[in-house]
């Protein structure tokens, strides 16, 4: 008996894609090939994992898109805490390149009570490497206090040399905390630690655990709000293009009280309030699961992962969040879902016909390679491949809920591999990062940056979904793609 046609087709796809992986790996020297083949696979339905190794050192000399621990701590977790000053401690470059690069929106007067789009650095010179930078750091903190008196605290983000020359930033931080009477957090996020920015997220979470929460425990009474049974915190939303706001508005509409946003548009006070909430709502699991687990253990606060990309997942998430509360909240959640139905219907009615059946290749950081997939599905689009820059094994397990049989999976994909895969799979849209964008646009392929929403956004929540749909349409259906190639060459 012959299997039904679609199964056959899928099996063939799986076989073809496995052959493709093999072919792409051919160019590597043996040692690197052996390493890389463990990171590439084709997802087979029913399996509990994508079957790839992850969170392992990148192959030297292969063009990885990964960043470093500093990028994970300063660039992602700590940087968006808007009322603190984050010192890029070490040479000038790291702070310079991570200056205003992530579009973590905030409300505040920059340079006065808010510091999100500024670059503070100790600008290490040769003598600092030779003699150590601790004294300079102490002096720098005193200068910060004088010039930026409304800062609520300081974090010290270590660049590579700090750990290598053996500076004692913890001692400086302790002393400074006493002197200025504010929270000063040393963060050991030197770029050589770990294999990607992922360890930086973990280190940043640990520094919050060790340097912020103990202060919060002491100051509990001074923090100044009466607890309510509906208190929640948004954890792991960096407010790219305003994502956390278009999420927060929904949570508030269903009757919850969001007392903290981590870390987009967040403040130190909000961080300190978090151990009082009833439930932590985790969007970016990869970067903030550590602190959520800690709060569960230390304070007994449960946490819940949710996904606010696309109406299907938003409704599902709202219901699940509401299920942790009483009927009032549950009813309000239903009312909110119903309220936005018309808005979503209009968006889908307009954009789905333009996007139906289009295929997408994804490759992003540590959450979106799975989380945005349902938003594409809501628009009738289909995923052909996905992978993480710095996902871990648990991310690849979670990914199985989002993808279909035969999806190509690539972990820490190199520029070479990605290009070869795309050439073969011929997706209609690539959704990845700035370093990949122009490579694929030169190949006449529509592209959207899925780290930064390509300067658009927000993409979270119902309001964000409308923008997401509009943006996919403008990328895919731009007449500019049809201009590529001189007409006299086409005939």
């Amino acid at each position: 008996m012959t299997p039904p046609e679609d199964t056959l087709e899928q099996t063939t796809t799986t076989v073809d894609k496995k052959a493709l992986i093999k072919e792409v790996l051919e160019v590597y020297p043996d040692k690197a090939k052996k390493k890389r083949e463990k990171h590439l696979n084709v997802y087979e339905e029913g399996k509990s994992d994508c079957g790839v190794k992850s969170n392992i050192k990148s192959v030297p000399g292969s063009m990885t898109t990964r960043g470093c621990a500093y990028a994970g701590s300063k660039g992602v977790v700590w940087g968006p805490i808007k009322d603190m000053i984050h010192i890029s401690h070490g040479p000038v470059g790291c702070g310079y390149y991570s200056w205003s690069g992530r579009r973590n929106y905030y409300i505040g007067t920059t340079g006065i009570d808010t510091f999100g789009t500024m670059q503070f650095t100790s600008d290490f010179q040769e003598r600092d490497i030779v003699f150590g930078g601790d004294k300079k750091l102490a002096k720098l903190i005193a200068e910060l206090e004088e010039l930026f008196p409304l800062n609520r605290g300081i974090s010290i983000q270590s660049e590579c040399p700090i750990g290598l020359i053996g500076d004692d930033i913890e001692a400086v931080a302790k002393k400074a905390t006493k002197e200025i009477g504010k929270t000063v957090v040393p963060v050991r996020c030197e770029g050589f630690r770990g294999v990607s920015q992922s360890l930086g997220h973990h280190i940043a979470n640990d520094s919050i655990r060790d340097w912020v929460f103990p202060q919060a425990d002491k100051k509990k009474k001074e923090l100044g709000i009466e607890g309510s049974p509906y208190d929640v915190a948004i954890i792991g939303d960096y407010n790219i293009g305003g994502d956390a706001w278009s999420s927060r508005i929904l949570l508030e509409e269903i009757g919850l009280r969001v007392v903290a946003q981590w870390s987009g548009d967040g403040t130190l006070n909000e961080m300190m309030l978090t151990p009082t909430v009833k439930l932590n709502l985790v969007h970016c699991y990869r970067s903030m699961n550590y602190i959520s687990r800690h709060m569960e253990e230390a304070y007994g606060i449960p946490w819940l992962e949710y996904n606010f990309f696309g109406p299907t997942k938003i409704a599902e998430s709202l219901r699940e969040i509401a299920s942790r509360f009483d009927e009032t909240i549950q009813q309000k959640a239903e009312a909110v879902i119903a309220k936005y139905q018309a808005q979503c219907d209009a968006v889908i009615e307009k954009y789905r016909p333009r996007l139906e059946g289009k295929t997408v290749a994804l490759m992003v950081g540590g959450l979106r390679p799975r989380h945005v997939v349902p938003a594409f599905h809501d628009l009738g689009m289909k995923l052909v491949s996905t992978g993480y820059e710095f996902g871990h094994n648990d991310d690849y397990k979670r990914t199985t809920h989002y993808i279909e049989n035969g999806t190509l999976i690539y972990d820490d994909v190199s520029a070479y591999e990605f290009e070869q895969f795309v050439k073969e799979l011929k997706p209609d849209l690539i959704a990845s990062g700035i370093k990949e964008k122009y490579v694929f646009q030169k190949m006449a392929l529509p592209f959207r940056q899925m780290h930064s929403w390509d300067y658009s956004g927000p993409y979270h929540g119902y309001d964000g979904f409308a923008i997401f749909a509009r943006d996919m349409d403008l990328a895919l259906n731009s007449p500019t793609w049809s201009l590529i190639g001189a007409p006299w060459k086409k005939s």
Binding site: P60, G61, D83, L164, G191, M272, A469
Partner: protein
């Protein structure tokens, strides 16, 4: 309601201005633990004062919003100007992700570079194994004609020796023995991106030209752009040289790499100075650099080792371009053609047409040393007055050179050079001694917001405006571009200031 019109979907630019989001922001304040609006306003006013300025200028340890980056960024920009060249940064990989991102955001082009991905184990044992594997992998994967190596601060702190590592890697067969792997040590705690450019250019030229010295010259002139981010300038220099009938080698030409045509195919390597031409540059008549402070060591090397005359010409503005063309003519015996004389005349015509709007205008500017010198020359030519000149990656020789240029013009008398200062210093300067115009890169938009000083975006990086890097600032045509950007920014500002109906719009003139 937020998205009540599917035909006019609101994104962040307008979405959050709506009432429901404004209420959300207001309500959020309850948890933020912020300062009172009065306190914020009081401190904000205080930061505009002379008292604050003095405190700000007294700082010794803190740098805020510096106008400089680190060495490897410059090194890899130099490298991609050579045919088929892959920049390879020895050290931790995050740096390369940052460099690639930074260039990509400015040029809106792919930028390929690899790293040896050093982690904790390399920090302890050194990065030799990373280099051996890294060279083999990048050679096989990306099929370069040359790999240009530089370091991050990590590799420098642990003391990795590039020369020895390359030798060992070649012995182990990572790349063929005769495969060019020039290198430069580029510690991030020394100098800035322009130092890195210089080190890498010197490294590449010394590697490629070794043993290539001939008895006679090849009759060519070498051009070295320096840390140049205006693709238009490279194209302009080539055009000028061709019009002059000058045989030249551009060391190195990254214009095709950083501004490649979209024809439906991605090519990792585009154009660039051929390795043969680069190797033969040792036999040129002379070398002209378009920047002094990003080519210092390279020029010293060329003078000492190649026994070649070197010159610095900055073809910015009328006189800068005159000098360049006359230098070319002097070195080659080629006359300056009528076509260029006409171009000059047209640029001068444009200058005289616009001068009334620029005369006596007070200007603040910041950027790399050579960029700033070119701009100052231009401003003095049109009768504008440089006032605050902030150069974070300054040095003494540069300051002397710039001071001499300022001293030679009556329009330079109000200028002060602020070497080693940053954009937070500039903020104080703009508040205490306001000017009519600010010139600098995209980071100036924060100064524009805070001080309302109109901003002309010139320099690197420019992230928030499109295509400026495609234009030239060099040559007579570049002078017209500069003039256009500057005078029209002032006219835009004049319109903005005279726009209120029945109040200020008496001066809202049609004809300017």
């Amino acid at each position: 309601m937020a998205q009540n019109n599917v035909d006019n979907i609101q994104d962040h630019a307008t979405l959050f201005h709506q009432d429901e989001y404004q209420e959300l922001f207001q309500a959020k304040k309850e948890f933020e633990g912020g300062h009172s609006p009065e306190e914020v306003a009081r401190i904000a006013e205080w930061t505009k004062t002379w008292e604050y300025r003095e405190k700000n200028f007294a700082r010794e340890a803190l740098t805020v919003n510096p106008a400089k980056a680190c060495q490897p960024l410059g090194a890899i920009l130099a490298a991609v100007g050579f045919e088929g060249t892959l920049p390879f940064v020895h050290g931790s990989q995050g740096c390369v992700a940052y460099f690639r991102t930074h260039f990509t955001r400015h040029f809106k082009e792919p930028f390929s570079a690899v790293s040896s991905s050093m982690t904790e184990d390399a920090a302890v044992f050194g990065g030799l194994n990373n280099m051996i594997d890294g060279l083999a992998n990048s050679y096989n994967l990306y099929k370069p004609k040359m790999i240009a190596l530089c370091t991050t601060c990590m590799a420098e702190v642990i003391g990795d020796d590039l020369g020895a590592f390359i030798k060992t890697s070649k012995e182990k067969g990572s790349v063929p023995e005769d495969f060019p792997v020039p290198y430069a040590h580029t510690p991030s705690f020394v100098g800035s991106h322009i130092t890195g450019y210089d080190n890498m250019m010197k490294g590449i030229l010394s590697n490629l030209t070794e043993g290539k010295k001939q008895a006679t010259t090849n009759g060519k002139i070498n051009f070295i752009p320096g840390f140049e981010t205006y693709i238009g300038n490279l194209r302009e220099v080539k055009r000028l040289a061709s019009l002059m009938g000058v045989n030249y080698t551009l060391l190195a030409d990254n214009s095709d790499y950083l501004d490649s045509p979209n024809d439906g195919e991605f090519r990792m390597y585009q154009g660039g100075t051929t390795l043969e031409d680069a190797a033969d540059s040792i036999n040129a008549e002379a070398t002209i650099a378009f920047q002094a402070y990003s080519t210092t060591k390279t020029r010293e090397y060329i003078a000492a080792e190649w026994k070649q005359k070197t010159f610095v010409c900055r073809p910015v503005g009328i006189r800068g371009t005159d000098e360049f063309l006359m230098k070319l003519s002097e070195l080659t015996g080629q006359p300056i053609p009528k076509e260029l004389e006409d171009e000059r005349g047209r640029a001068v015509d444009a200058f005289t047409d616009s001068q009334a709007w620029l005369h006596g205008k007070r200007v603040a500017l910041y950027g790399d040393p050579d960029l700033v010198i070119g701009l100052v020359q231009f401003l003095l030519e049109v009768g504008a007055e440089p006032v605050h000149i902030v150069v974070t990656n300054s040095n003494e020789i540069f300051e002397q050179e710039l001071q001499a240029i300022l001293d030679a013009s009556p329009f330079g008398s109000t200028a002060k050079i602020w070497g080693g200062r940053d954009l937070w210093h500039m903020r104080s300067l703009l508040f205490t001694e306001p000017v009519d115009l600010l010139i600098g890169n995209s980071y100036g938009k924060y100064l524009w917001r805070d001080t309302h000083t109109p901003l002309v975006r010139i320099g690197y990086p420019i992230f928030d405006r499109h295509h400026l890097h495609r234009y030239a600032t060099f040559g007579y045509q570049g002078a017209i571009n500069l003039l256009n950007w500057i005078v029209n920014t002032l006219l835009d500002e004049l319109d903005r200031n005279t726009i209120v109906p029945a109040k200020t719009d008496i001066s809202y003139d049609l004809i300017r």
